[in-house]
């Protein structure tokens, strides 16, 4: 909301500096988005045109004598065409400073000119919002006084943000009250007495029938003797500074009162309301209404309208209708100061796609008591313009004062950590308009009628803290009591991330929401998803419609984008829908890498991936989980392994299926490992096994075996055959080729043999190896290569 500081000053004395005021507002909970400084203007006074003569040497110029309150009138030549004798106008005298010029004595075509009469633009007001030519001031304005001071033209305008609970403060008075409370300065409020007391002529008394519970209260008031014209200059200038275009005196008064009190108003041409009878009701399906902006709108029952017997006259709290609008010939009007349910106004406004200053207040639900206040202020201003005010008539719920809130005095300190005595607490609350009745240990606090947000003691404590100042509360480190809430899940993620970083992987973040294009890429590679995707109902765009079901697709897109060797990981949630929506924590790491020149039966990258996977799991669970061959959608069918523990899949890993990589546009081979965080076994502290004090011996075996026999099978048979003497078996080389034939492969293993109680003898080692060879031959059909 744009608030001219000059307007605030009408109600409260404030410091000169706009930044100081802005800071104070921020510390009261009203951040200032912008401080619009006004240009420096000086030396402009009120003058009156005494005489006008034609310029002797120039047809387009006139020479005016202007009484600017000095001893002698000033002679001023002007090219303006709207000047006339007796006009009261702003005059920039010699030495005056205007936004773009300084006034000096000069000759205009030979005629001495001792100043300049000013247009709105020369006073830094929007030219298109005021009359062309010289600005016209009210005839009663005292001559010679300073125009800048009179209208507050040099005070900055603040753009103030008001939180949704404080719609009462979407008003100059509301903010002035906050500042007055904070500065401890008196608040000068206008009277809220309604001058209308007369009874209307027969049949002219406005009646309101409220058919919708969303219209909570409706104050209607009739005025006669209205003459539509310009509003007073001071009001137009104030509105202009507040960013509101002056339109006509009636429209301006309704805007002025709304900006001043927060209560939106509407004026109807009384002659256009059938039987002076208004009805607040749901719109009928298909009912049409031309609103003030000349747009014909077709309504649904979601709209709340103010109507007469003939049909809708306006959208409640949002915008009036064109048909009942006040116009040039209007002489009698009916004022509406109504209260509506905020949700209803908001939903109507969204459905219609229309917002207004009025709806921006109504949608936050104003306090019903503001209707009286708004009507009273409008009535005073209308009466000042010569209108005759009849008595306001209120319909709908009666105004009931809010119940008093019990505020235990010690709760202020208990909640804030700031010790304040009851007197000071009361003072703060009273400054904000509360009524406080002190009790023994509590205060009975009745919130002001214009606020709906003060309901419980904590609400009042916030008020006390705001007025006292949040910055007066000392910052203290609490001593946190002990508790037994575990951090295991977070610790696991932290350790996984740290380990992967130490293994040379970079953590990345990809979007959890994906579009159809990702699904298409997967489908193009021939993969049918095992579960339904979880779909977002209201995505912002099509490429955010689905929740990711795995991390790998995002990483493939990343690898395609980087298009260079890269090592990456991500920890995040993935989603699938079975009977219900499922969400699990997942880690995927991997790399895009230049391919090795290797035979089809060997893949060093795979083994490196496996090594990193083993290292990672060892770091977080202390054990090595065994990998077995398997297949997984998206992974190369011959280069996929899984790690199971306790019947649950801890990890799967392998090379990305080349068809998938191609579909994602990844040029380099990609290897990934997917880890299911919930399946990672709990950390088991490893135990130290000291090596034997006696030397052991290592024996290498070169075996020839069938292609389908695995290194793990060979190792385990060897281990079992050697028995207790076996200190370790490890395959270290594989070979396939003509020497071993098409159906067979050669595998080299090294067995370490030893004892813990003595040095192993050659005879013992030979016997052990003999057992191994026999077992390998019998169980796996292995032959020894020599």
């Amino acid at each position: 909301m744009r608030v001219p500081i000059s307007w605030l000053r009408e109600y409260v004395d404030l410091p000169r500096d706009a930044h100081e005021i802005a800071d104070r507002l921020a510390m009261l909970g009203f951040p200032v988005e912008e401080i619009a400084e006004r240009p420096t203007i000086s030396g402009v006074v009120v003058g009156k045109i005494v005489t006008i003569e034609k310029h002797p040497n120039a047809d387009r110029l006139q020479v005016c004598m202007v009484d600017a309150g000095g001893e002698t009138p000033l002679q001023i030549a002007t090219a303006a065409t709207n000047v006339a004798v007796d006009q009261v106008i702003p005059v920039a005298t010699i030495g005056a400073r205007l936004p773009h010029l300084t006034i000096e004595p000069r000759k205009m075509r030979g005629v001495e000119s001792q100043g300049m009469m000013c247009s709105a633009e020369e006073l830094a007001l929007p030219a298109e919002w005021f009359e062309d030519g010289i600005m016209q001031l009210d005839a009663t304005t005292p001559l010679g006084i300073n125009v800048v001071d009179l209208f507050g033209l040099d005070d900055a305008v603040l753009d103030v943000e008001v939180t949704s609970n404080r719609v009462d403060a979407m008003s100059v008075i509301g903010l002035a009250r906050e500042l007055a409370a904070s500065y401890g300065a008196p608040l000068r409020l206008p009277s809220f007495e309604n001058p209308g007391t007369a009874e209307e002529p027969a049949g002219a008394a406005p009646r309101v029938t409220i058919e919708s519970p969303d219209c909570t209260r409706f104050v209607a008031q009739r005025f006669d003797g209205v003459r539509v014209g310009d509003a007073p200059v001071w009001m137009r200038i104030r509105l202009a500074l507040a960013g509101q275009r002056p339109i006509s005196n009636l429209v301006d008064i309704s805007n002025y009162v709304m900006l001043e009190t927060a209560q939106p108003l509407h004026f109807y041409d009384a002659s256009r309301i059938q039987d002076a009878h208004l009805i607040a009701r749901d719109a009928r399906e298909g009912e049409t209404l031309v609103t003030l902006d000349e747009v014909e709108r077709t309504l649904t029952p979601l709209a709340l309208v103010i109507a007469d017997a003939a049909g809708a006259l306006g959208l409640a709290g949002l915008m009036g209708g064109a048909a009942s609008e006040v116009r040039a010939g209007t002489t009698a009007i009916v004022l509406e100061a109504a209260n509506f349910e905020g949700v209803r106004v908001r939903r109507m406004s969204m459905q219609i796609g229309l917002r207004s200053e009025a709806s921006s207040r109504h949608e936050k639900t104003l306090a019903p008591a503001l209707t009286e206040i708004g009507a009273a202020r409008a009535a005073q201003l209308l009466v000042q313009l010569g209108a005759r005010a009849y008595r306001p008539r209120a319909f709908g719920a009666d105004l009931v004062p809010a119940p008093a809130i019990e505020l235990p005095v010690r709760d202020v300190e208990r909640l804030l950590g700031l010790k304040l005595d009851a007197t000071r607490i009361s003072q703060h609350l009273e400054r904000l308009g509360c009524t406080v009745t002190p009790g023994e240990h509590t205060l009975a606090v009745t919130p002001p009628a214009w606020r709906r947000d003060l309901v419980i003691a904590a609400d009042l404590i916030e008020e006390v803290a705001r007025v006292e100042g949040y910055d007066t509360i000392a910052a203290i480190e609490p001593s946190v009591p002990s508790h037994d809430i575990p951090s295991a899940q977070y610790d696991l993620e932290t350790k996984l991330a740290a380990t992967l970083a130490s293994l040379g992987y970079h953590e990345i973040l990809t979007y959890s929401l994906q579009g159809q294009s990702v699904l298409d890429k997967v489908a193009r590679a021939g993969i049918t998803p095992s579960h339904d995707r979880v779909e977002v109902r209201n995505p912002l765009s099509e490429d955010q419609r689905y929740l990711r079901w795995a991390l790998a697709p995002g990483m493939l897109e990343y690898a395609a984008r980087i298009d260079a060797p890269v090592r990456f990981f991500e920890i995040g949630h993935v989603f699938a829908r079975e009977r219900s929506v499922g969400e699990i924590s997942m880690l995927t790491f991997g790399f895009a890498v230049e391919p090795n020149d290797e035979p089809a039966w060997r893949d060093t990258h795979f083994l490196r991936l496996k090594g990193d996977c083993e290292a990672l799991l060892r770091a977080v669970c202390g054990i090595t989980v065994e990998a077995t061959r398997d297949t997984r959608a998206g992974l190369h069918p011959g280069k996929t392994a899984v790690m199971m523990h306790d019947g649950r899949e801890v990890a799967n890993f392998g090379k990305i299926d080349p068809r998938v990589a191609h579909s994602f546009g990844v040029r380099l081979p990609v290897y990934v490992c997917n880890i299911f965080l919930e399946h990672i076994p709990e950390y088991r502290t490893p135990r130290y096994h000291p090596p034997s004090k006696f030397p052991s011996t290592a024996r290498d075996l070169a075996l020839v075996i069938n292609l389908d026999v695995t290194a793990e099978q060979v190792s385990s048979v060897t281990r079992r055959a050697i028995g207790a003497l076996c200190l370790g078996v490890r395959a270290f080389d594989e070979y396939r080729g003509p020497q071993v034939g098409e159906e067979r492969k050669s595998l080299a293993i090294r067995a370490t043999i030893g004892r813990y109680d003595a040095t192993i003898t050659d005879e013992e080692a030979d016997a052990a190896i003999g057992r191994a060879i026999d077992a390998l031959r019998e169980e796996l059909g292995a032959t020894i290569r020599t």
């Binding site: 909970g29 951040p31 949704s164 404080r166 949700v343 908001r346 969204m350 208990r414 804030l416 950590g417 700031l418 419980i456 904590a458 404590i461 916030e462 803290a465 705001r466 949040y470 910055d471 509360i473 910052a475 203290i476 480190e477 609490p478 946190v480 009591p481 002990s482 508790h483 037994d484 809430i485 951090s487 899940q489 977070y490 610790d491 993620e493 992967l500 970083a501 130490s502 040379g504 970079h506 953590e507 990345i508 973040l509 990809t510 979007y511 959890s512 929401l513 979880v534 779909e535 977002v536 109902r537 912002l540 929740l547 990343y558 990981f569 995040g572 949630h573 929506v581 969400e583 924590s585």
Partner: protein
């Protein structure tokens, strides 16, 4: 001069020549073997003691030993000379130490996680536990239990991504307040970092997914001053010891009193109009905080007569943008290798 002395002098002269001309350890060793070895020349001299004139014999052993000592000293000198020559060669090497390093093959933790970890570490040091939650939450945990009424605009599907009528992607980490308080009796001291989602169009300042860190402390005797204390400490931990922190009144349905928390701009240290980090205000907005609303405590069955508490929720991306002076929030999801390397 005696015959033995003449012989030994001659022998020494030849030995010295041999070791002086020796170029490496092998040549030296050959000289040693030839003269001092088991069947070397010195041994031959010792064997010839019997042939010496009788007057020389009694002292011959002593004289020979003295000569051997002298030869061994000369040999040690020669060994040292050759060793030093090797050192000198190596020591003569000189390189351009400013030549670019060969990078270690290290990985990195994402800057968002790093900031998150630093924040969490601060709270854990003060006795807080860290809990994680789900990203899809029922509206009960996202709104109702947090005192956000059914008619609140945030619930109408303009701000949050909905999965069904009652399930949505959490727009804040605050559901973890409810889940933690339901699962545990007070006292509660937790932080809950995690991913959140809001329907924001992606631009330099917004992503539709982001991270928050939620904090919740509920116990006897907890007040707003403690909130200020902890969050001031957090800002100093993350941005430096001279950080100032400002608490401004604000409004959130689940806290009362509520506050917006700002910290001094670490880039311009308090406001220059041209600062692109704070826009010249001198302050960085970190997020919301406040005393847990009594309705929230009632909802989880806590006795508000005994317990008070505070909560806060900060955006982690915002902390990271500020800390690393990053110009565009989209860099966090672009994850350009150079970006990750620079911040690693």
């Amino acid at each position: 001069m005696s015959e033995l002395a003449t012989k030994l002098d001659d022998l020494y002269a030849r030995f010295e020549r041999a070791i002086t001309t020796a170029d490496d350890e092998r040549a030296l060793d050959a000289a040693r073997v030839a003269f001092l070895g088991r069947s070397g020349e010195v041994t031959a001299v010792r064997r010839g003691i019997g042939q010496l004139p009788p007057a020389e014999r009694p002292d011959a052993g002593k004289v020979i030993n003295a000569a051997v000592e002298r030869m061994e000293a000369a040999l040690a000198g020669a060994v040292a000379r050759i060793e030093n020559r090797a050192f000198d060669t190596e020591l003569a090497q000189s390189i351009d130490v400013t030549f670019p390093a060969i990078a270690a093959p290290t990985g990195s933790i994402h800057p968002v996680r790093r900031v998150l970890q630093d924040a969490v570490a601060y709270f854990e040091r003060h006795g807080f536990a860290t809990v994680l939650g789900m990203e899809i939450e029922p509206d009960y945990y996202t709104f109702d239990a947090l005192n956000i009424p059914a008619t609140h605009p945030a619930r109408e599907g303009f701000d949050s991504f909905f999965i069904s009528d009652s399930l949505l992607l959490r727009p804040h980490t605050s559901p973890m307040q409810i889940r933690t308080m339901q699962a545990h009796k007070p006292p509660i001291a937790v932080v809950a970092p995690g991913k959140c989602y809001r329907r924001d169009a992606v631009d330099a300042r917004h992503l539709f997914q982001f991270h928050q860190i939620e904090g919740l402390l509920v116990a006897e005797g907890i007040h707003f001053g403690h909130l200020k204390g902890m969050l001031t400490g957090l800002c100093r931990e993350l941005f430096g010891a001279d950080q100032r922190v400002r608490f401004r009144p604000s409004f959130f349905p689940f806290t009362e009193p509520s506050a917006e928390v700002d910290t001094t701009c670490p880039k311009c240290k308090g406001g220059t109009a041209a600062c692109n980090m704070c826009g010249g205000s001198g302050w960085i907005e970190l997020g919301g905080a406040g005393m847990v609303h009594p309705n929230v405590l009632h909802e989880v069955g806590y006795d508000t007569g005994i317990y008070t508490g505070w909560a806060f929720g900060f955006g982690i991306e915002r902390l990271a943008l500020t800390r690393y002076d990053i110009d565009d929030i989209r860099r966090f999801v672009d994850c350009d290798p150079d970006f990750l390397r620079q911040l690693a």
